[in-house]
Amino acid sequence: MTIAIQLAYLLASILFIMGIKLLGKTKDARKGNMLSAIGMLVAIVATLITLDILSFVEIFSCMLIGGAIGLYYAKKVEMTQIPEMVALFNGFGGLASLGVALSDHFLKTAVLAVEIDPVNSISIIASVLIGGVTFTGSMVAWLKLNGKVSGQPITFKGQHVLNLALLISFLVISVFTFLYQSDPMYITILVVVALLVGILIVVPIGGADMPVVISLLNSYSGMAACATGFILNNNVLIVAGSLVGASGLILTQIMCKAMNRSLTNVLLGGFGQTVASGAQDGPSIVIKEIGVEETAMLFDSVSSVIVVPGYGMAVAQAQHVIRELMEQCEKRGIDFKFAIHPVAGRMPGHMNVLLAEANISYDKLIEMEAINDEFPNTDLVLIVGANDVVNPAARTNPQSPIYGMPILNADKAKTVIVSKRSMGKGYAGVENELFGYPNCLMLFGDAKQTITKVVSEMKEM
């Protein structure tokens, strides 16, 4: 019997691996997700078989409640809100791992009154730490992403000292938990400290850095599952957990590279401050405005267009009207593409999902490295709700906080139109010198409204 269960877990692990492999190809990705879901089902059924049938009432009630909430949220969520949903679910995963670890601890100490062996005890401590940090960290990220808490970095004096103190107290209390297992006080303090650490890690991080934070928390949730696997001596948890842990780490690394930050810098936490201090006012720049009709005429006269979308496009919900713009242009035989910066949006790949939702074919979405050489040969670039990712200061101004960050060379195009609500600064709080360039024209107003007008002008031409 146990052999059959173990084999089922092996099958589940294989399905997870194949699922992730297929997730790497756009046309097979859906199948991949399905395979990994089947893997999960296999793991759940295999576990249920080992359990006492008398407990099935509460097991199924809990799963019914959780399943209904999960399904409802998944159906209802807007594509712009995907980052906050991922953050929220990450938090739930972390809290679940924390719950399992604590449950196991109390079962052994209070109910069975047995000695917990050292490996187990260390795994419980690790699971409490990672699970707790994942939970509160994700909750803070979730609050920041849905605007309930300011997206600005929150910093205060002595933050690093406090973090260090918490870390030391965590280590000390871990030792006590390890030595005096039967005293519930120590593990309770441990939980509290872990929860505090999670809050303090994410609080100082600004909205524009969210792609890094979400990727990192994603990785943590995997590691928490992994630690739980060590508690339960269960391979499938370790395989699945480490796959997720690795995936999150790689995405974190990609995001860091795209923002010119080191992984250590991120792992130590407290980044984003350099950005806040860089909000000095540069020399004031002279901008040129363009109206809706002129914009439409310009679109009518060119032969190649690249659109640079940013988070502002998501906020304005302008992706659908941009598809209409694309259709108008393609009717005229204009070459129409999108340039996607890795950190555009609030999570890795966020823009691609939004444009896919607007029914734009994915082969039109070109990555930064692939498209950057095309800008000099492009007639017109339309920037919608992006700012820092096209700021030439990243190339030219060593004083700029974003200096060294790889950017889209939109400024090299013959003409650049920037669709922008008003003359504000980007999320990094930096003035964009692109707006003062001679080839740059500003199209002020809500992106959705102005582009809708441009499209209707073009329809009449």
Partner: protein
């Protein structure tokens, strides 16, 4: 836990992490959001632990209640994660 079984678990951890790195570096940036929500659902594998914790009989112990909480949360994570990933991937089309 015996040392041998710990070693086996560490083996699994190291190899699976390595495999994860290899697989995920190949995922194109277009699919990073679905990858993340899909892997988020996979991290709900902790549901296995939650099931075991919930299966304890009787409602008098803290560990049982913690298990039930974990089970609800892990199920939200798993079901919601897979459902939203599927919804997203359905939209990725090539024309």
């Amino acid at each position: 836990m015996s040392l041998e079984s710990l070693i086996i678990l560490i083996y699994v951890l190291v190899l699976a992490s390595y495999l994860g790195f290899e697989l995920i570096t190949k995922v194109p940036p277009t699919l990073h959001t679905p990858l993340m929500s899909g892997s988020n659902a996979i991290s709900g594998i902790t549901i296995v632990g939650a099931l075991i914790a919930t299966s304890e009989l009787g409602y008098s112990t803290l560990s049982k209640w913690l298990g039930m909480m974990a089970l609800i949360l892990a199920t939200i994570n798993v079901v919601g994660g897979y459902a939203v990933t599927d919804r997203m991937l359905k939209m990725f089309k090539k024309k």
